[in-house]
Protein backbone atom coordinates (compact mmCIF):
# COMPACT_ATOMS: atom_id res chain seq x y z
CA UNK A 1 0.00 0.00 0.00
CA UNK A 2 2.76 2.45 0.85
CA UNK A 3 4.33 2.30 -2.59
CA UNK A 4 0.94 2.95 -4.13
CA UNK A 5 0.39 5.92 -1.86
CA UNK A 6 3.81 7.35 -2.63
CA UNK A 7 2.99 7.16 -6.31
CA UNK A 8 -0.33 8.89 -5.77
CA UNK A 9 1.37 11.58 -3.74
CA UNK A 10 3.95 12.18 -6.45
CA UNK A 11 1.19 12.35 -9.03
CA UNK A 12 -0.65 14.91 -6.92
CA UNK A 13 2.40 17.12 -6.75
CA UNK A 14 2.77 16.83 -10.48
CA UNK A 15 -0.82 17.87 -10.97
CA UNK A 16 -0.44 20.90 -8.73
CA UNK A 17 2.62 21.89 -10.71
CA UNK A 18 0.69 21.53 -13.92
CA UNK A 19 -2.07 23.72 -12.55
CA UNK A 20 0.44 26.36 -11.53
CA UNK A 21 1.93 26.31 -15.00
CA UNK A 22 -1.50 26.58 -16.52
CA UNK A 23 -2.39 29.65 -14.50
CA UNK A 24 0.92 31.21 -15.39
CA UNK A 25 0.30 30.61 -19.07
CA UNK A 26 -3.24 31.94 -18.88
CA UNK A 27 -2.16 35.09 -17.14
CA UNK A 28 0.55 35.72 -19.66
CA UNK A 29 -1.81 35.15 -22.51
CA UNK A 30 -4.19 37.64 -21.01
CA UNK A 31 -2.03 40.55 -20.20
CA UNK A 32 1.37 39.36 -19.30
CA UNK A 33 1.75 40.56 -15.76
CA UNK A 34 0.90 38.17 -13.02
CA UNK A 35 0.11 39.65 -9.69
CA UNK A 36 0.05 43.10 -11.12
CA UNK A 37 -2.99 45.10 -11.97
CA UNK A 38 -3.53 46.61 -15.36
CA UNK A 39 -5.47 49.56 -16.33
CA UNK A 40 -6.52 52.26 -14.04
CA UNK A 41 -6.46 50.62 -10.64
CA UNK A 42 -4.43 52.67 -8.20
CA UNK A 43 -1.60 51.00 -6.39
CA UNK A 44 1.20 52.80 -4.67
CA UNK A 45 4.38 53.05 -6.78
CA UNK A 46 6.51 51.45 -4.08
CA UNK A 47 4.34 48.37 -4.09
CA UNK A 48 4.46 48.21 -7.84
CA UNK A 49 8.22 48.52 -7.87
CA UNK A 50 8.57 45.88 -5.20
CA UNK A 51 6.37 43.49 -7.05
CA UNK A 52 8.10 44.13 -10.35
CA UNK A 53 11.45 43.34 -8.83
CA UNK A 54 10.10 40.31 -7.10
CA UNK A 55 8.65 38.80 -10.21
CA UNK A 56 11.34 39.95 -12.58
CA UNK A 57 8.85 41.23 -15.08
CA UNK A 58 11.39 42.48 -17.51
CA UNK A 59 13.19 39.18 -17.69
CA UNK A 60 12.58 36.41 -20.22
CA UNK A 61 9.63 34.10 -19.75
CA UNK A 62 11.30 31.06 -18.18
CA UNK A 63 12.93 33.27 -15.58
CA UNK A 64 9.58 34.80 -14.80
CA UNK A 65 8.14 31.33 -14.45
CA UNK A 66 10.79 30.26 -11.99
CA UNK A 67 10.34 33.41 -9.98
CA UNK A 68 6.57 32.90 -10.06
CA UNK A 69 6.85 29.40 -8.71
CA UNK A 70 9.39 30.45 -6.12
CA UNK A 71 7.09 33.23 -5.00
CA UNK A 72 4.21 30.82 -4.71
CA UNK A 73 6.25 28.45 -2.62
CA UNK A 74 7.10 31.29 -0.33
CA UNK A 75 3.43 32.10 -0.02
CA UNK A 76 3.73 35.31 -1.94
CA UNK A 77 0.62 35.72 -3.94
CA UNK A 78 0.75 39.35 -4.75
CA UNK A 79 -1.17 42.29 -3.54
CA UNK A 80 -4.89 42.80 -3.80
CA UNK A 81 -5.49 46.35 -4.79
CA UNK A 82 -9.18 46.23 -4.15
CA UNK A 83 -8.63 45.11 -0.61
CA UNK A 84 -5.27 46.77 -0.18
CA UNK A 85 -3.71 43.84 1.50
CA UNK A 86 -1.60 40.88 0.51
CA UNK A 87 -3.62 38.26 -1.22
CA UNK A 88 -2.23 35.58 1.01
CA UNK A 89 -3.73 37.32 4.02
CA UNK A 90 -7.10 37.60 2.38
CA UNK A 91 -6.95 33.94 1.42
CA UNK A 92 -5.86 32.92 4.88
CA UNK A 93 -8.94 34.60 6.28
CA UNK A 94 -11.28 33.23 3.69
CA UNK A 95 -10.19 29.62 3.34
CA UNK A 96 -11.22 28.45 6.83
CA UNK A 97 -14.74 29.68 6.19
CA UNK A 98 -14.96 27.81 2.93
CA UNK A 99 -13.53 24.69 4.52
CA UNK A 100 -16.10 24.92 7.31
CA UNK A 101 -18.91 25.32 4.85
CA UNK A 102 -17.69 22.57 2.55
CA UNK A 103 -17.09 20.29 5.51
CA UNK A 104 -20.55 20.87 6.92
CA UNK A 105 -22.03 20.39 3.48
CA UNK A 106 -20.12 17.14 3.08
CA UNK A 107 -21.37 15.97 6.44
CA UNK A 108 -25.00 16.61 5.55
CA UNK A 109 -24.42 15.19 2.08
CA UNK A 110 -23.11 11.85 3.24
CA UNK A 111 -25.28 11.51 6.30
CA UNK A 112 -28.50 11.98 4.37
CA UNK A 113 -27.25 10.45 1.15
CA UNK A 114 -25.96 7.19 2.60
CA UNK A 115 -29.01 6.61 4.76
CA UNK A 116 -31.30 7.36 1.85
CA UNK A 117 -29.34 5.13 -0.52
CA UNK A 118 -29.36 2.17 1.86
CA UNK A 119 -33.06 2.62 2.56
CA UNK A 120 -33.94 2.92 -1.12
CA UNK A 121 -31.94 -0.20 -1.95
CA UNK A 122 -33.76 -2.14 0.74
CA UNK A 123 -37.11 -1.04 -0.69
CA UNK A 124 -35.94 -1.39 -4.27
CA UNK A 125 -38.58 -0.97 -6.96
CA UNK A 126 -41.32 -0.41 -4.42
CA UNK A 127 -43.20 2.84 -4.00
CA UNK A 128 -40.87 4.32 -1.39
CA UNK A 129 -37.88 3.77 -3.65
CA UNK A 130 -39.49 5.22 -6.75
CA UNK A 131 -40.92 8.23 -4.94
CA UNK A 132 -37.72 9.02 -3.08
CA UNK A 133 -35.77 8.43 -6.26
CA UNK A 134 -37.76 11.06 -8.11
CA UNK A 135 -37.58 13.55 -5.28
CA UNK A 136 -33.88 13.03 -5.04
CA UNK A 137 -33.49 13.39 -8.81
CA UNK A 138 -35.28 16.71 -8.59
CA UNK A 139 -32.98 17.99 -5.87
CA UNK A 140 -29.95 16.80 -7.76
CA UNK A 141 -31.03 18.70 -10.84
CA UNK A 142 -31.63 22.11 -9.41
CA UNK A 143 -29.05 24.89 -9.38
CA UNK A 144 -27.50 24.90 -5.92
CA UNK A 145 -27.66 28.65 -5.61
CA UNK A 146 -31.34 28.61 -6.52
CA UNK A 147 -32.07 26.22 -3.68
CA UNK A 148 -30.12 28.58 -1.47
CA UNK A 149 -32.26 31.48 -2.58
CA UNK A 150 -35.45 29.58 -1.98
CA UNK A 151 -34.37 28.37 1.44
CA UNK A 152 -33.27 31.88 2.30
CA UNK A 153 -36.59 33.26 1.19
CA UNK A 154 -38.73 30.79 3.07
CA UNK A 155 -36.79 30.05 6.23
CA UNK A 156 -34.94 33.29 6.78
CA UNK A 157 -36.92 36.09 5.27
CA UNK A 158 -40.44 34.83 5.71
CA UNK A 159 -40.26 32.55 8.74
CA UNK A 160 -37.30 34.15 10.46
CA UNK A 161 -36.07 30.79 11.68
CA UNK A 162 -32.55 31.35 10.46
CA UNK A 163 -30.39 34.37 9.84
CA UNK A 164 -30.26 35.95 6.46
CA UNK A 165 -26.56 35.54 5.95
CA UNK A 166 -23.09 35.95 7.26
CA UNK A 167 -20.96 33.75 9.42
CA UNK A 168 -21.95 34.92 12.85
CA UNK A 169 -22.98 37.87 14.88
CA UNK A 170 -20.19 40.39 14.26
CA UNK A 171 -20.89 42.46 17.30
CA UNK A 172 -21.48 39.98 20.05
CA UNK A 173 -19.42 37.12 18.73
CA UNK A 174 -16.55 38.21 16.51
CA UNK A 175 -14.74 35.04 17.48
CA UNK A 176 -15.97 31.75 18.82
CA UNK A 177 -15.40 32.57 22.44
CA UNK A 178 -18.15 30.68 24.16
CA UNK A 179 -20.69 27.95 23.74
CA UNK A 180 -23.28 30.55 22.90
CA UNK A 181 -21.06 31.88 20.16
CA UNK A 182 -20.54 28.37 18.85
CA UNK A 183 -24.28 27.93 18.73
CA UNK A 184 -24.56 31.23 16.91
CA UNK A 185 -22.02 30.08 14.34
CA UNK A 186 -23.87 26.82 13.83
CA UNK A 187 -27.12 28.71 13.45
CA UNK A 188 -25.57 30.76 10.67
CA UNK A 189 -24.01 27.69 9.13
CA UNK A 190 -27.26 25.77 8.96
CA UNK A 191 -28.90 27.10 5.82
CA UNK A 192 -25.85 27.29 3.58
CA UNK A 193 -24.66 23.85 4.69
CA UNK A 194 -28.13 22.44 4.09
CA UNK A 195 -28.18 23.97 0.64
CA UNK A 196 -24.93 22.33 -0.35
CA UNK A 197 -25.72 19.15 1.50
CA UNK A 198 -29.17 18.49 0.11
CA UNK A 199 -28.16 18.81 -3.51
CA UNK A 200 -25.10 16.67 -2.88
CA UNK A 201 -27.08 14.11 -0.87
CA UNK A 202 -29.39 13.52 -3.79
CA UNK A 203 -26.45 12.48 -5.94
CA UNK A 204 -24.85 10.42 -3.21
CA UNK A 205 -28.13 8.60 -2.55
CA UNK A 206 -28.43 7.56 -6.19
CA UNK A 207 -24.91 6.28 -6.22
CA UNK A 208 -25.17 4.47 -2.89
CA UNK A 209 -28.42 2.83 -3.92
CA UNK A 210 -26.79 1.45 -7.04
CA UNK A 211 -23.76 0.25 -5.08
CA UNK A 212 -25.96 -1.47 -2.49
CA UNK A 213 -28.10 -3.16 -5.12
CA UNK A 214 -25.03 -4.49 -6.87
CA UNK A 215 -23.48 -5.78 -3.65
CA UNK A 216 -26.68 -7.39 -2.42
CA UNK A 217 -26.74 -9.57 -5.51
CA UNK A 218 -23.28 -10.91 -4.80
CA UNK A 219 -22.56 -14.49 -3.80
CA UNK A 220 -21.07 -13.63 -0.44
CA UNK A 221 -24.34 -12.08 0.63
CA UNK A 222 -26.01 -15.38 -0.13
CA UNK A 223 -23.34 -17.13 1.91
CA UNK A 224 -24.05 -14.82 4.83
CA UNK A 225 -27.74 -15.69 4.68
CA UNK A 226 -26.91 -19.39 4.42
CA UNK A 227 -25.05 -19.07 7.72
CA UNK A 228 -28.27 -18.09 9.39
CA UNK A 229 -27.47 -14.43 10.00
CA UNK A 230 -30.31 -12.00 10.57
CA UNK A 231 -31.19 -9.99 7.48
CA UNK A 232 -30.27 -6.79 9.24
CA UNK A 233 -26.75 -8.04 9.86
CA UNK A 234 -26.46 -9.30 6.32
CA UNK A 235 -27.30 -5.89 4.92
CA UNK A 236 -25.66 -3.57 7.41
CA UNK A 237 -22.50 -5.56 8.04
CA UNK A 238 -21.76 -7.73 5.04
CA UNK A 239 -23.31 -5.72 2.25
CA UNK A 240 -22.83 -2.16 3.40
CA UNK A 241 -19.16 -2.59 4.19
CA UNK A 242 -18.57 -3.47 0.57
CA UNK A 243 -20.97 -0.90 -0.84
CA UNK A 244 -19.21 1.86 1.05
CA UNK A 245 -16.02 1.34 -0.91
CA UNK A 246 -17.14 2.94 -4.15
CA UNK A 247 -18.77 5.68 -2.14
CA UNK A 248 -15.40 6.63 -0.74
CA UNK A 249 -14.23 7.35 -4.23
CA UNK A 250 -17.34 9.50 -4.51
CA UNK A 251 -15.80 11.66 -1.83
CA UNK A 252 -13.13 12.60 -4.33
CA UNK A 253 -15.75 13.70 -6.81
CA UNK A 254 -17.72 15.55 -4.19
CA UNK A 255 -14.92 18.00 -3.54
CA UNK A 256 -14.98 19.88 -6.82
CA UNK A 257 -18.74 19.95 -6.55
CA UNK A 258 -18.61 21.39 -3.07
CA UNK A 259 -16.05 24.00 -3.99
CA UNK A 260 -17.97 25.00 -7.07
CA UNK A 261 -21.21 25.12 -5.17
CA UNK A 262 -19.52 27.00 -2.40
CA UNK A 263 -18.73 29.86 -4.74
CA UNK A 264 -22.36 30.47 -5.52
CA UNK A 265 -23.75 29.57 -2.12
CA UNK A 266 -21.28 31.86 -0.41
CA UNK A 267 -22.47 34.61 -2.68
CA UNK A 268 -26.12 33.99 -1.81
CA UNK A 269 -25.52 33.83 1.92
CA UNK A 270 -22.81 36.48 2.11
CA UNK A 271 -20.48 33.86 3.54
CA UNK A 272 -16.95 35.32 3.72
CA UNK A 273 -15.16 32.43 2.10
CA UNK A 274 -13.05 31.86 -0.99
CA UNK A 275 -16.01 31.92 -3.30
CA UNK A 276 -17.26 35.27 -2.25
CA UNK A 277 -13.72 36.58 -2.30
CA UNK A 278 -13.37 35.43 -5.88
CA UNK A 279 -16.63 36.86 -7.11
CA UNK A 280 -15.99 40.20 -5.47
CA UNK A 281 -12.53 40.20 -6.97
CA UNK A 282 -13.89 39.56 -10.43
CA UNK A 283 -16.44 42.28 -10.20
CA UNK A 284 -13.65 44.60 -9.24
CA UNK A 285 -11.18 43.22 -11.73
CA UNK A 286 -8.83 42.22 -8.94
CA UNK A 287 -6.81 39.65 -10.90
CA UNK A 288 -4.27 38.63 -8.29
CA UNK A 289 -7.03 37.43 -6.02
CA UNK A 290 -8.78 35.57 -8.78
CA UNK A 291 -5.73 33.62 -9.88
CA UNK A 292 -4.75 32.90 -6.31
CA UNK A 293 -8.15 31.48 -5.46
CA UNK A 294 -8.18 29.35 -8.58
CA UNK A 295 -4.85 27.90 -7.53
CA UNK A 296 -5.96 27.41 -3.96
CA UNK A 297 -9.12 25.66 -5.09
CA UNK A 298 -7.15 23.32 -7.30
CA UNK A 299 -4.74 22.46 -4.54
CA UNK A 300 -7.66 21.74 -2.24
CA UNK A 301 -9.20 19.42 -4.79
CA UNK A 302 -5.94 17.57 -5.31
CA UNK A 303 -5.38 17.19 -1.59
CA UNK A 304 -8.93 16.08 -1.10
CA UNK A 305 -8.59 13.44 -3.80
CA UNK A 306 -5.38 12.23 -2.21
CA UNK A 307 -7.15 11.95 1.12
CA UNK A 308 -10.01 10.05 -0.46
CA UNK A 309 -7.62 7.69 -2.22
CA UNK A 310 -5.74 7.04 1.02
CA UNK A 311 -8.99 6.33 2.79
CA UNK A 312 -9.95 3.90 0.06
CA UNK A 313 -6.61 2.12 0.26
CA UNK A 314 -7.00 1.71 3.97
CA UNK A 315 -10.58 0.56 3.75
CA UNK A 316 -10.21 -2.04 1.01
CA UNK A 317 -8.13 -4.94 2.26
CA UNK A 318 -7.45 -5.99 -1.30
CA UNK A 319 -5.34 -2.85 -1.74
CA UNK A 320 -4.09 -2.54 1.79
CA UNK A 321 -2.57 -6.00 1.83
CA UNK A 322 -1.07 -7.30 -1.32
CA UNK A 323 -1.87 -10.97 -1.83
CA UNK A 324 0.75 -13.65 -1.51
CA UNK A 325 -1.34 -16.24 -3.30
Amino acid sequence: MTSWLVRRFAASIAIVFAVVTLTFVLIHLAHGTPFLPTGDRPLSPEVIARLRAQFGLDRPLPVQYVKYVAALLRGQLGESFALRRPVSDALADAIPHTVTLAGAGLFVDFLVGLALGVYQAARSRRFADVALGNVSLFFNSMPTFWLGLVLLLVFAQRLHWFPVGGVGDPVLCPTVSSARCLADRLWHLALPALTLGIVGAAGTARFQRAAMLEVVGQDYVRTARAKGLAERRVVLVHALRNALLPVISLLGLALPFLLTGAVLVEWVFAWPGMGRLTVNAILQRDYPVVTATALAASVMVVLGNLAADTLYAVADPRIRIRSDA
Binding site: A11, A14, I15, A18, V19, L22, T23, L26, I27, L29, A30, H31, V130, G133, N134, L137, F138, N140, S141, M142, P143, T144, F145, W146, L149, V150, L152, L153, Q157, P256, L259, T260, V263, L264, W267, T278, V279, A281, I282, L283, R285, Y287, V290, T291, T293, A294, A297, S298, V301, V302, N305
Partner: protein, 308 residues
Protein backbone atom coordinates in the same frame (compact mmCIF):
# COMPACT_ATOMS: atom_id res chain seq x y z
CA UNK B 1 -52.49 36.65 -22.48
CA UNK B 2 -55.04 36.14 -25.20
CA UNK B 3 -56.69 33.01 -26.54
CA UNK B 4 -54.18 32.47 -29.37
CA UNK B 5 -51.33 32.26 -26.93
CA UNK B 6 -53.13 29.75 -24.78
CA UNK B 7 -53.74 27.77 -27.94
CA UNK B 8 -50.09 27.94 -28.85
CA UNK B 9 -49.17 26.72 -25.39
CA UNK B 10 -51.62 23.87 -25.69
CA UNK B 11 -50.09 23.12 -29.06
CA UNK B 12 -46.63 22.90 -27.54
CA UNK B 13 -47.91 20.52 -24.89
CA UNK B 14 -49.64 18.43 -27.52
CA UNK B 15 -46.51 18.29 -29.65
CA UNK B 16 -44.51 17.13 -26.65
CA UNK B 17 -47.10 14.46 -25.91
CA UNK B 18 -46.93 13.26 -29.48
CA UNK B 19 -43.16 13.01 -29.38
CA UNK B 20 -43.24 11.16 -26.08
CA UNK B 21 -45.87 8.80 -27.41
CA UNK B 22 -43.92 8.15 -30.58
CA UNK B 23 -40.77 7.44 -28.61
CA UNK B 24 -42.65 4.99 -26.41
CA UNK B 25 -44.07 3.14 -29.36
CA UNK B 26 -40.72 2.82 -31.11
CA UNK B 27 -38.98 1.82 -27.90
CA UNK B 28 -41.35 -1.04 -27.16
CA UNK B 29 -40.08 -2.88 -30.21
CA UNK B 30 -36.59 -3.53 -28.98
CA UNK B 31 -35.16 -5.02 -25.82
CA UNK B 32 -32.98 -1.95 -25.35
CA UNK B 33 -35.99 0.29 -25.77
CA UNK B 34 -37.93 -1.68 -23.19
CA UNK B 35 -35.10 -1.29 -20.73
CA UNK B 36 -35.25 2.45 -21.40
CA UNK B 37 -38.97 2.52 -20.66
CA UNK B 38 -38.59 0.65 -17.40
CA UNK B 39 -37.20 3.73 -15.73
CA UNK B 40 -40.03 5.74 -14.25
CA UNK B 41 -38.35 9.04 -15.10
CA UNK B 42 -37.43 8.36 -18.71
CA UNK B 43 -40.72 8.86 -20.54
CA UNK B 44 -41.73 11.94 -18.55
CA UNK B 45 -38.21 13.17 -19.23
CA UNK B 46 -38.74 12.85 -22.96
CA UNK B 47 -42.03 14.69 -22.63
CA UNK B 48 -40.56 17.57 -20.64
CA UNK B 49 -37.57 17.92 -22.93
CA UNK B 50 -39.76 17.84 -26.00
CA UNK B 51 -42.01 20.48 -24.46
CA UNK B 52 -39.20 22.88 -23.72
CA UNK B 53 -37.54 22.32 -27.07
CA UNK B 54 -40.86 23.10 -28.73
CA UNK B 55 -41.15 26.23 -26.63
CA UNK B 56 -37.68 27.28 -27.67
CA UNK B 57 -38.31 26.66 -31.33
CA UNK B 58 -41.75 28.23 -31.38
CA UNK B 59 -40.93 31.04 -29.00
CA UNK B 60 -42.36 33.86 -31.12
CA UNK B 61 -45.61 31.92 -31.44
CA UNK B 62 -45.95 31.02 -27.78
CA UNK B 63 -44.65 34.06 -25.97
CA UNK B 64 -47.33 36.70 -25.47
CA UNK B 65 -44.93 39.64 -25.21
CA UNK B 66 -41.58 40.70 -26.47
CA UNK B 67 -39.07 39.54 -23.86
CA UNK B 68 -37.33 42.90 -23.75
CA UNK B 69 -40.43 45.04 -23.70
CA UNK B 70 -40.67 47.19 -20.64
CA UNK B 71 -44.18 48.63 -20.71
CA UNK B 72 -43.88 50.60 -17.54
CA UNK B 73 -40.68 50.34 -15.58
CA UNK B 74 -42.10 51.89 -12.48
CA UNK B 75 -45.81 51.10 -12.54
CA UNK B 76 -45.68 47.56 -13.81
CA UNK B 77 -42.55 46.26 -12.19
CA UNK B 78 -42.64 43.26 -9.92
CA UNK B 79 -46.25 42.44 -10.48
CA UNK B 80 -47.35 39.04 -9.15
CA UNK B 81 -48.78 36.44 -11.56
CA UNK B 82 -52.06 37.58 -13.08
CA UNK B 83 -54.26 37.10 -16.12
CA UNK B 84 -52.18 39.52 -18.12
CA UNK B 85 -48.85 38.13 -16.98
CA UNK B 86 -49.18 34.44 -16.06
CA UNK B 87 -45.86 34.34 -14.27
CA UNK B 88 -45.69 37.97 -13.23
CA UNK B 89 -43.31 40.72 -14.24
CA UNK B 90 -39.75 41.32 -13.22
CA UNK B 91 -37.90 44.29 -11.86
CA UNK B 92 -37.94 46.00 -15.23
CA UNK B 93 -41.63 45.20 -15.81
CA UNK B 94 -40.77 42.57 -18.41
CA UNK B 95 -43.11 39.58 -18.66
CA UNK B 96 -41.51 36.62 -16.92
CA UNK B 97 -43.28 33.96 -18.96
CA UNK B 98 -42.18 35.45 -22.26
CA UNK B 99 -38.63 35.73 -21.05
CA UNK B 100 -38.80 32.14 -19.84
CA UNK B 101 -39.90 30.98 -23.26
CA UNK B 102 -37.21 32.91 -25.11
CA UNK B 103 -34.75 31.96 -22.43
CA UNK B 104 -35.29 28.34 -23.33
CA UNK B 105 -33.57 29.10 -26.61
CA UNK B 106 -30.55 30.54 -24.89
CA UNK B 107 -30.17 28.10 -22.04
CA UNK B 108 -30.93 24.99 -24.07
CA UNK B 109 -28.94 26.29 -26.97
CA UNK B 110 -25.85 27.00 -24.92
CA UNK B 111 -26.29 23.68 -23.20
CA UNK B 112 -26.50 21.75 -26.43
CA UNK B 113 -23.65 23.58 -28.17
CA UNK B 114 -21.25 23.44 -25.26
CA UNK B 115 -22.09 19.80 -24.72
CA UNK B 116 -21.37 19.13 -28.37
CA UNK B 117 -17.93 20.69 -28.00
CA UNK B 118 -17.26 18.82 -24.78
CA UNK B 119 -18.44 15.43 -25.97
CA UNK B 120 -16.60 15.70 -29.26
CA UNK B 121 -13.37 16.60 -27.54
CA UNK B 122 -13.86 14.03 -24.80
CA UNK B 123 -14.69 11.23 -27.20
CA UNK B 124 -11.79 12.05 -29.49
CA UNK B 125 -9.24 12.29 -26.70
CA UNK B 126 -10.59 9.23 -24.93
CA UNK B 127 -10.62 7.17 -28.09
CA UNK B 128 -7.08 8.15 -29.06
CA UNK B 129 -5.80 7.48 -25.56
CA UNK B 130 -7.56 4.15 -25.31
CA UNK B 131 -6.56 2.96 -28.73
CA UNK B 132 -2.94 3.96 -28.94
CA UNK B 133 -2.14 3.39 -25.27
CA UNK B 134 1.40 3.67 -23.96
CA UNK B 135 2.86 7.15 -23.90
CA UNK B 136 -0.01 8.75 -25.80
CA UNK B 137 -2.41 7.40 -23.22
CA UNK B 138 -0.19 8.37 -20.32
CA UNK B 139 0.30 11.91 -21.56
CA UNK B 140 -3.35 12.50 -22.38
CA UNK B 141 -4.56 11.04 -19.13
CA UNK B 142 -2.20 13.19 -17.09
CA UNK B 143 -3.71 16.12 -18.90
CA UNK B 144 -7.17 14.86 -18.03
CA UNK B 145 -6.17 14.48 -14.40
CA UNK B 146 -5.17 18.13 -14.32
CA UNK B 147 -8.41 19.07 -15.99
CA UNK B 148 -10.43 17.14 -13.46
CA UNK B 149 -8.50 18.71 -10.62
CA UNK B 150 -9.53 22.21 -11.58
CA UNK B 151 -12.97 23.14 -10.32
CA UNK B 152 -14.59 24.37 -13.49
CA UNK B 153 -16.12 27.43 -12.10
CA UNK B 154 -12.85 28.81 -10.81
CA UNK B 155 -11.20 28.34 -14.15
CA UNK B 156 -14.08 29.98 -15.95
CA UNK B 157 -14.18 32.81 -13.48
CA UNK B 158 -10.47 33.30 -13.89
CA UNK B 159 -10.76 33.47 -17.65
CA UNK B 160 -13.71 35.84 -17.47
CA UNK B 161 -11.74 38.05 -15.12
CA UNK B 162 -8.60 38.07 -17.20
CA UNK B 163 -10.34 38.87 -20.45
CA UNK B 164 -12.68 41.58 -19.58
CA UNK B 165 -15.19 41.05 -22.29
CA UNK B 166 -16.08 37.53 -23.27
CA UNK B 167 -18.40 37.17 -26.28
CA UNK B 168 -21.10 34.54 -26.05
CA UNK B 169 -19.52 32.23 -28.61
CA UNK B 170 -16.27 32.21 -26.70
CA UNK B 171 -18.16 31.50 -23.52
CA UNK B 172 -19.79 28.47 -25.09
CA UNK B 173 -16.42 27.23 -26.32
CA UNK B 174 -14.85 27.78 -22.93
CA UNK B 175 -17.54 25.86 -21.14
CA UNK B 176 -17.08 23.10 -23.65
CA UNK B 177 -13.31 23.11 -23.24
CA UNK B 178 -13.59 22.69 -19.51
CA UNK B 179 -16.23 19.98 -19.53
CA UNK B 180 -14.81 17.12 -21.55
CA UNK B 181 -12.51 15.44 -19.06
CA UNK B 182 -15.01 13.07 -17.53
CA UNK B 183 -16.26 11.93 -20.91
CA UNK B 184 -12.75 11.19 -22.09
CA UNK B 185 -12.17 8.85 -19.16
CA UNK B 186 -15.36 6.95 -19.90
CA UNK B 187 -14.67 6.67 -23.59
CA UNK B 188 -11.10 5.59 -22.95
CA UNK B 189 -12.29 2.74 -20.73
CA UNK B 190 -14.73 1.59 -23.36
CA UNK B 191 -12.17 1.79 -26.15
CA UNK B 192 -9.61 -0.13 -24.11
CA UNK B 193 -11.95 -3.07 -23.97
CA UNK B 194 -13.20 -2.68 -27.53
CA UNK B 195 -9.80 -2.69 -29.12
CA UNK B 196 -9.32 -6.33 -28.17
CA UNK B 197 -12.35 -7.37 -30.18
CA UNK B 198 -12.19 -9.16 -33.46
CA UNK B 199 -13.61 -6.44 -35.62
CA UNK B 200 -10.65 -4.23 -34.78
CA UNK B 201 -8.21 -6.95 -35.79
CA UNK B 202 -10.23 -7.44 -38.96
CA UNK B 203 -10.10 -3.77 -39.82
CA UNK B 204 -6.37 -3.62 -39.24
CA UNK B 205 -5.84 -6.78 -41.28
CA UNK B 206 -7.56 -5.01 -44.14
CA UNK B 207 -4.88 -2.37 -43.95
CA UNK B 208 -6.95 0.43 -42.47
CA UNK B 209 -4.93 3.29 -41.04
CA UNK B 210 -5.12 3.67 -37.26
CA UNK B 211 -7.12 6.88 -37.54
CA UNK B 212 -9.69 5.18 -39.69
CA UNK B 213 -9.89 2.21 -37.36
CA UNK B 214 -10.45 4.46 -34.39
CA UNK B 215 -13.00 6.76 -35.86
CA UNK B 216 -14.91 4.55 -38.19
CA UNK B 217 -14.86 1.25 -36.36
CA UNK B 218 -14.16 1.66 -32.68
CA UNK B 219 -15.94 4.88 -31.81
CA UNK B 220 -19.36 3.94 -33.17
CA UNK B 221 -19.27 0.92 -30.90
CA UNK B 222 -18.35 3.10 -27.98
CA UNK B 223 -21.52 5.09 -28.54
CA UNK B 224 -23.13 4.06 -25.28
CA UNK B 225 -21.04 6.06 -22.81
CA UNK B 226 -20.84 8.93 -25.28
CA UNK B 227 -24.59 9.22 -25.56
CA UNK B 228 -25.12 8.99 -21.84
CA UNK B 229 -22.39 11.59 -21.30
CA UNK B 230 -24.09 13.85 -23.78
CA UNK B 231 -27.43 13.69 -22.03
CA UNK B 232 -25.86 14.36 -18.66
CA UNK B 233 -23.54 16.93 -20.16
CA UNK B 234 -26.30 19.23 -21.33
CA UNK B 235 -27.68 19.33 -17.83
CA UNK B 236 -24.31 20.03 -16.26
CA UNK B 237 -23.58 22.78 -18.75
CA UNK B 238 -26.95 24.38 -18.15
CA UNK B 239 -26.27 24.44 -14.43
CA UNK B 240 -22.83 25.90 -14.99
CA UNK B 241 -24.12 28.58 -17.33
CA UNK B 242 -26.87 29.41 -14.88
CA UNK B 243 -24.29 29.83 -12.15
CA UNK B 244 -22.17 32.14 -14.25
CA UNK B 245 -25.13 34.20 -15.38
CA UNK B 246 -26.35 34.37 -11.81
CA UNK B 247 -23.11 36.08 -10.92
CA UNK B 248 -23.62 38.45 -13.81
CA UNK B 249 -20.68 36.95 -15.63
CA UNK B 250 -22.31 34.69 -18.16
CA UNK B 251 -24.82 35.61 -20.76
CA UNK B 252 -24.93 39.38 -20.96
CA UNK B 253 -28.06 41.34 -20.31
CA UNK B 254 -30.68 41.80 -21.51
CA UNK B 255 -30.62 38.29 -22.99
CA UNK B 256 -33.04 36.24 -20.90
CA UNK B 257 -30.99 33.14 -20.10
CA UNK B 258 -32.61 31.45 -17.16
CA UNK B 259 -29.56 32.06 -15.03
CA UNK B 260 -29.52 35.79 -15.71
CA UNK B 261 -33.23 35.91 -14.98
CA UNK B 262 -32.47 34.59 -11.53
CA UNK B 263 -29.75 37.21 -11.28
CA UNK B 264 -32.20 39.95 -12.17
CA UNK B 265 -34.61 38.84 -9.54
CA UNK B 266 -32.22 38.40 -6.64
CA UNK B 267 -32.34 41.96 -5.38
CA UNK B 268 -36.06 42.04 -4.91
CA UNK B 269 -36.36 38.39 -3.98
CA UNK B 270 -38.28 39.13 -0.81
CA UNK B 271 -40.83 41.21 -2.63
CA UNK B 272 -41.11 39.44 -5.95
CA UNK B 273 -39.91 35.86 -5.53
CA UNK B 274 -41.50 34.68 -8.76
CA UNK B 275 -38.91 36.41 -10.85
CA UNK B 276 -36.21 34.10 -9.53
CA UNK B 277 -38.20 31.06 -8.56
CA UNK B 278 -39.72 30.26 -11.95
CA UNK B 279 -36.54 30.32 -14.01
CA UNK B 280 -34.80 28.15 -11.39
CA UNK B 281 -37.72 25.78 -11.46
CA UNK B 282 -37.46 25.62 -15.23
CA UNK B 283 -33.78 24.71 -14.98
CA UNK B 284 -34.49 22.08 -12.33
CA UNK B 285 -37.24 20.51 -14.38
CA UNK B 286 -35.26 20.39 -17.62
CA UNK B 287 -32.10 19.06 -15.97
CA UNK B 288 -34.22 16.49 -14.17
CA UNK B 289 -35.73 15.43 -17.48
CA UNK B 290 -32.24 15.12 -18.98
CA UNK B 291 -31.01 13.10 -16.03
CA UNK B 292 -34.02 10.83 -16.29
CA UNK B 293 -33.38 10.28 -19.98
CA UNK B 294 -29.69 9.66 -19.28
CA UNK B 295 -30.59 7.01 -16.69
CA UNK B 296 -32.87 5.28 -19.12
CA UNK B 297 -30.29 5.43 -21.87
CA UNK B 298 -27.57 4.11 -19.61
CA UNK B 299 -29.59 1.00 -18.85
CA UNK B 300 -30.84 0.62 -22.38
CA UNK B 301 -27.40 0.80 -23.94
CA UNK B 302 -25.51 -1.16 -21.31
CA UNK B 303 -24.05 -4.05 -23.27
CA UNK B 304 -23.84 -6.26 -20.21
CA UNK B 305 -27.59 -6.32 -20.01
CA UNK B 306 -27.86 -7.80 -23.47
CA UNK B 307 -27.13 -11.23 -22.07
CA UNK B 308 -30.06 -11.14 -19.64
Amino acid sequence: MNAWKWLALAGALAAALLVAGAVRRRARDSAAGRRFLRHPASTPGVFVLAFFVTLAVAAPLVAPYDPDWMPGIVELQNRPPSRLHPLGTDIYSRDVWSRLVYGARISLGIGALAMLVAVTLGAAVGAVAGYFRRWVDAALMRFVDVGLALPRIFVLLMVVALWEHVPLAVLVLLIGFTSWFGTSRLVRAEVLSLREREFVAAARALGARPGRVVFRHVLPNAAAPIIVSAALGIGNVMLLEAGLSFLGLGVPSPAPSWGSMIFDGTQKMAVAPWTSVFPGLAIAVVVMALNGIADGLRDALDPRREAA
